[in-house]
């Protein structure tokens, strides 16, 4: 189920950079504790498969995600970022994800302007019952990032994957 | 590569929990030849780095006469020291640069009575000199060590203090700020005990003091009242330092670089500095 990497993948933002043959994307997944994290659990317990490229970070609520986290992930190891929370109206804290939604849109648009492909940072609503959807989302994000190639923008010098 | 700022690796040999928030780290350079060459005077400091956290300035709290290791006593205060307390274990590696700064005038004080006045973690730099003086006992006359802390639990080097007490010619006076049930020694702040209990001889005595700024302030005043001349009072001054080399400009007080011209000053020298510490 490992994301398939064909040879000669170029970085979409920096076409001069060609991915090494053994390159595998790193996706940082920031999941809300109450829905998406439980959803990803369900994916596992239901034995559904999804790409192992995702590294999951659990947060109490999607509104805990400061745009800073996304910037930080992109600046260090991530080739792509997935942020997932409860469906609108289902927030454990009643309205957290409504606040988060606003921030996500602005962050996404700003990153797009400074030269990141819009598929680098993706968002999803996954409930605790949607194990299959979680697998689908991760698959889509990974496939997208594989198409975009490695991220080489503003990486910290001393990072090694 | 900034050649001056590169540390050498040292190993933590032992960790001694002195008080709830002070630990003594016994260190030894990984390179044995470096350890042999490493020599310092009491009162000097090193730049201690926990790699992956940051660099901090600590005085060496043991004497060069005790060979094969050196101690740093570290109180938990900021980000790096908190990391040192939580992350650093026996056998781990740390980076050490040094020794830097000037030192207690070990020659000038020869043949004199010594009065040590320490408060809290301020005993650490004094310990280096006390150990040095004990190991060269014949060079110095009588010692008095006045040491105070907030509570009895905050007294550092408890075992060593017991040993000092056994030595002849050393008078140890301990004090804590507030009375405690099991506490049998003095109660009261250091300057008060200094004037009321210690009552030091003035002639032929050198005073060496270190402690929190507020203690230093009042101790210096009491020493004045007791009639010590400022030239005979020696203190060590701590400022925020980063390079230890007289370059980074952080420890400037007037045209003095505390890291190069200090940290040891006499009270007379301190009086001449602008009031910025």
């Amino acid at each position: 189920m490992e994301a398939e990497v064909k040879d000669k993948i170029v970085s979409i933002e920096k076409p001069e950079i060609i991915a090494p043959p053994d390159w595998k994307p790193v996706i940082v997944g920031i999941l809300c504790n109450w829905c998406s994290y439980a959803g990803s659990d369900l994916t596992g317990t239901s034995r559904m498969q999804y790409p192992p490229n995702i590294r999951i970070i659990r947060v109490p609520c999607s509104s805990r995600v400061d745009p800073w986290f996304i910037i930080k992930a992109l600046q260090t190891t991530a080739d792509g970022v997935l942020i997932s929370g409860c469906h609108p109206g289902d927030c454990h804290y009643i309205s957290g994800n409504y606040y988060a939604r606003r921030r996500f849109l602005v962050t996404k648009e700003l990153l797009k302007m400074v030269g990141f492909h819009e598929h680098r940072v993706q968002f999803s609503w996954v409930s605790a019952a949607e194990g299959a959807k979680f697998a689908q989302v991760v698959k889509k994000v990974t496939d997208d990032v594989v198409k975009l190639g490695p991220l080489h923008l503003y990486k910290k010098e001393n990072f090694n994957k | 590569m900034e050649a001056l700022l590169v540390p050498s690796l040292a190993k933590v040999e032992r960790i001694i929990q002195e008080t709830p928030d002070v630990r003594t780290y016994r260190l030894k350079f990984k390179d044995d030849s470096l350890m042999e060459k490493f020599s310092w005077h009491p009162g000097q400091f090193v730049e201690f780095s926990l790699l992956g956290s940051g660099e901090c300035t600590f005085c060496i709290s043991s004497s060069v006469t005790r060979k094969g290791y050196f101690d740093c006593s570290i109180k938990k205060a900021g980000i790096v020291t908190a990391d040192i307390h939580t992350d650093l274990e026996e056998g781990d590696d740390v980076g050490i640069r040094g020794p830097y700064g000037n030192w207690f005038p070990t020659d000038d004080i020869k043949g004199k009575n010594l009065l040590f006045v320490g408060g809290g973690i301020g005993l650490a730099p004094l310990r280096s000199l006390i150990q040095y003086a004990i190991d060269n006992r014949s060079d110095y006359k009588d010692f008095t060590i006045l040491y105070g802390a907030r509570t009895s639990a905050d007294l550092c080097y408890k075992e060593e203090i017991e040993e000092w007490k056994k030595n002849t010619g050393i008078r140890v006076v301990l004090t804590i700020d507030k009375p405690e049930d099991t506490w049998k020694e003095n109660v009261g702040v250091v300057p008060k005990i200094l004037e009321e209990v210690v009552k030091p001889e003035i002639a032929n005595t050198k005073v060496i003091t270190c402690g929190p700024p507020i203690m230093i302030k009042y101790t210096l005043q009491s020493l004045d009242r007791l009639g010590f001349s400022p030239e005979h009072v020696i203190t060590t001054l701590e400022m925020k330092m980063q390079c230890g080399l007289g370059k980074c400009g952080r420890c400037n007080i007037g045209s003095t670089y505390i890291c190069k011209d200090g940290p040891v000053f006499t009270y007379a020298q301190l009086k001449a500095l602008p009031d910025e510490f």
Partner: protein, 283 residues
């Protein structure tokens, strides 16, 4: 637009009545026709006050310094300045009853070279929104215009935009002047200045500039009032407004025409939400 005389009279009166301890205004810089802010505590200095179209700096920045904290302050605000003041008030950074605000119906200010500032040509709220006293005749709100630079950038391709911004981040020297001169950056310790090693970002690389400027602008999104203090302070002359204007545009277009600090008591765009906010970008 010259209200120097009126402002001197008002300031003198305020001092005479004992209503203020400090007055923050502008004076001539003493060598050419440009002005610098001045913090006055002595009523005798009132005569140095001026206000013309050269009065550029947003004075609400001084509300976070020791000279004004806890004191009664007289202050001159233009349209954009008053928006930032409005936000400081709603975010409980200053107390309204300690301020005496001279609002200006602003006709736009000019930069050092005498050219009208870009933010003034696109100004939405020229009149001060909070004030105790208004100078000039108010002309009401204007329509929102998308910044010309943002429009130009939107037409460029991904690689072109990336190259342009890479240049910006590479030329940043990480002095943090933008942040210090921003009236709305009042945090005691900024999250960008983390000293913890795994979060440290103080090196002078494009990467750390990207981190600092992006985080900074996103923390100001929905609050930035486009006063351009940051650009004035930037020693590298970076077009920092691009980041803020982009956020402003997205917020205006998607969140019920929200503009920071225009309504009294209204908080930044990220302090509220609507059920109708766009959702289609989320899977």
């Amino acid at each position: 637009m010259d209200y120097s005389k009126e402002i001197r009279d008002i300031a003198a009166k305020l001092f005479a009545d004992g209503k203020i301890d400090v007055f923050v205004g502008y004076r001539m810089n003493g060598f050419d026709d440009n002005q610098v802010p001045v913090v006055i505590t002595d009523p005798k200095e009132v005569s140095t006050l001026v206000f013309t179209e050269k009065s550029v700096f947003n004075l609400t920045n001084y509300l976070k310094t020791d000279h004004t904290r806890g004191k009664r302050v007289g202050l001159i605000v233009k349209g954009c300045d008053s928006r930032s003041l409005n936000l400081l008030l709603t975010e409980s950074q200053v107390k309204r009853d300690r301020l005496y605000i001279i609002g200006i119906a602003c006709e736009g200010v000019v930069d050092d070279k005498g050219v009208k500032m870009q933010n003034c040509t696109e100004c939405i709220v020229p009149d001060a929104v909070v004030f105790d006293e208004m100078l000039g005749s108010p002309r009401g709100k204007k329509d929102y215009i998308v910044n010309a630079d943002i429009r130009a950038l939107a037409e460029k391709g991904l690689v072109e935009r990336r190259e342009y911004f890479e240049e910006i981040f590479e030329n940043c020297i990480r002095c943090n002047a933008c942040r210090h001169s921003c009236p709305l950056c009042y945090c005691a310790k900024c999250c960008i200045d983390q000293e913890t090693a795994s979060l440290y970002n103080g090196s002078n690389t494009a990467s750390s500039a990207f981190h600092a400027l992006m985080t900074w602008s996103l923390h100001l999104a929905g609050r930035c009032v486009d006063c351009r203090n940051c650009e004035k302070a930037c020693p590298s002359h970076l077009p920092l407004h691009l980041l803020h204007k982009q956020n402003e545009k997205v917020i205006f277009e998607n969140f019920q025409n929200h503009l920071a600090g225009v309504e009294e008591g209204e908080r930044g765009a990220f302090y509220k939400y609507s059920l109708k906010d766009p959702d289609d970008f989320i899977m």
